[in-house]
Symmetry: C2
Subunit: 137 residues, 2 copies
């Protein structure tokens, strides 16, 4: 699994200027989504997780803190649906808000295709415990 | 100006199943952002516009209606910063919420680079009056 685009740089940026909160969005590399489609799936996941968080007490505060510190978002690739769900299970177990995106499938992919997963916003430390290995590979 | 990725298909989808609300996110093609970076900018714009809308009475209702109808998002390319601001001015004049994204510039682009603009969520009709010509080109 490798990072999409310049995620490597995003990680380096974080080393010089730490952000306490972040949101990670995982996207399936096996779907080979074109850039515009990929961006829409990532935005769907990001917004859905934020709206979900705003409905809960603790989540609301996390969204506020995350947004106040620059709304850090990191897009990372996973190999396939199975790997995406592995991280969803990890995030669920850790009590981190997730948003799973299923595409209506009228365009590039078959109907009901799971395309992306947002994890957080939550503390970097908590999210890294779930997705940290993705950054190392 | 051409659509990013399969935006053409997204537009076709809309013809068969109309959505009353949408959000358009404009991205600068001249920056040649890699896919992961592009997705992060689009997500920044989308989320920021939603959070802005939630702070206003009318906007809150629009976010609710938009989200209930599938959170339609369309990513479109603009040639450069000047064209992006042309559409920002149009959206501002029409009273549509916008979110302008400026990159911290520690990675791919110089500091303070304007990368993306979200327009809405708002009614399709209202947004099309501002960005409609982008779909035709």
């Amino acid at each position: 699994v490798f990072a999409v685009g310049d995620v490597q740089s995003v990680i380096l940026m974080n080393e010089t200027e730490p952000s306490e909160y972040k949101q990670v969005i995982l996207v399936r590399i096996d779907l080979r989504l074109p850039p515009g489609k990929l961006a829409v799936q990532v935005a769907h996941a990001s917004v859905d997780a934020v709206l979900k968080a705003l409905k809960s007490g603790q989540g609301k505060e996390q969204v506020r803190a995350w947004h106040a510190s620059g709304s850090k978002k990191v897009v990372l690739r996973v190999a396939d649906k199975a790997e995406l769900f592995k991280y969803k299970t990890g995030a669920d177990s850790a009590g981190i808000i997730t948003a799973l995106i299923t595409d209506a499938g009228r365009t590039t992919v078959p109907p009901g295709t799971v395309t992306a997963l947002a994890i957080g916003p939550d503390s970097e430390e908590k999210i890294d415990e779930v997705t940290g290995e993705l950054r190392m590979r």
